[in-house]
Symmetry: C2
Subunit: 229 residues, 2 copies
Amino acid sequence: LLEAEAVERTYRMGGDVEVRALRGVSFRVDRGDYVAIVGTSGSGKSTLLNLIGALDRPDGGHVRYDGRDVREMSDTELAELRNVRIGFVFQSFHLLSRMTARDNVAMPLVYRTSSPKERRRRATEALEAVGLGDRVDHRPTELSGGQQQRVAIARALVTEPALILADEPTGNLDTRTGEEIMGLLEGIQADRGTALVVITHEPEIAGRAGRRIELRDGLVVADAVQIPT
Amino acid sequence: LLEAEAVERTYRMGGDVEVRALRGVSFRVDRGDYVAIVGTSGSGKSTLLNLIGALDRPDGGHVRYDGRDVREMSDTELAELRNVRIGFVFQSFHLLSRMTARDNVAMPLVYRTSSPKERRRRATEALEAVGLGDRVDHRPTELSGGQQQRVAIARALVTEPALILADEPTGNLDTRTGEEIMGLLEGIQADRGTALVVITHEPEIAGRAGRRIELRDGLVVADAVQIPT
Ligand SMILES: Nc1ncnc2c1ncn2[C@@H]1O[C@H](COP(=O)(O)OP(=O)(O)OP(=O)(O)O)[C@@H](O)[C@H]1O
Ligand SMILES: Nc1ncnc2c1ncn2[C@@H]1O[C@H](COP(=O)(O)OP(=O)(O)OP(=O)(O)O)[C@@H](O)[C@H]1O
Ligand SMILES: [Mg+2]
Ligand SMILES: [Mg+2]
């Protein structure tokens, strides 16, 4: 499904300052895989997720989907990949503050589902699945931190993507709500064969995956199959 | 130091919809106290912190500092309270995106420290204390999620406030960095008698406090001294 090969990303700042955020990262994700990405703050996890989500371009190496390099994709192909085939949960949510929760969640469906009524129905369903059926008309500023996080998660699920990339999806959730959300994601992975890649700093969440990749200073220092707990 | 008495907060939305976020919350915090606030997503924790931080007004009940009701404070007194006497770490950081990390951290010092050179020096020190000495000139968008969180923490410490209110301060930090940050805050509490109120969903973090308050649906359901682990 997805392959990262020797991926590098360097941020260049004014005055010759460079931050080598990724220094040659390689791994692959097959359909139905469940991968946890861990590592210290600043080790390059979000940078990696942005690259494999085709939201950013590597400075070195390749990112391929079903063998096709994202560099060779047209704008239309990239839009389809980012908005329909991949569901992305951002570390800082990136919700649109002037739209309600439901309209935020309905956004990715614009690329695929032509009827506004159908988009609204599916967005409502996704919000109910994350426990926010009674918050559909609230705007992000009218929601708690954990509720905003769950809106971002609902938006990532609504197109039934082949791959979910989630950056700290439980960072603002109490333990029980966090487990409910992970259970929801794992159910989707089990039922539909959706691949799940989750960045997390919580060992209990990382332990639920079938594979664990650890980053340090922009390099992979561990990539191991594990028995999920 | 701080007293909340029968505090209520109701959000009124269009069309007669009301969300009773806090329905009568009472507790007190003395100098040097270390309190953890826990509860499910949406239970009212951030709302409570905003009220005790004098960033919002209760619809019912009272918030008092050293016996003085915040409702009776002048704008100048409130500015001093919010920016100097209290250090606030927001769940969504609220950093200014056009300023560097150092300038963000120096902001609260404007209310107290007249020399730009001294503000710069103290801001640099605070950033070094949270492990970001090599990121002082980065803007928030040029920082990882956990680095942004630590900038917000440094900003809350820089005026050496009497009370630190921290909303999920380790939500984006790996376990080790999170422990280093809590160690830093606890050191300040032990050395300077600073009161620490921390909202957290992580049981290991909550267990470090001397007292634990649990919220559910806008009410206090537990307020107990505990042996820190
Ligand atoms: N501006 C607002 N308008 C309407 N409702 C609001 C507003 N802000 C918050 N709420 C609601 O008030 C309730 C309490 O919100 P609050 O942010 O205090 O929760 P919390 O305990 O901090 O949650 P979390 O753990 O998810 O951060 C939530 O149900 C939320 O939907
Ligand atoms: N736009 C940018 N310009 C310069 N440096 C950047 C930029 N974005 C990120 N960085 C740096 O790149 C490194 C990796 O950032 P990244 O966001 O990938 O880390 P992370 O592993 O997700 O961290 P966290 O766990 O704190 O979220 C960090 O040291 C950060 O300071
Ligand atoms: Mg990150
Ligand atoms: Mg909150």
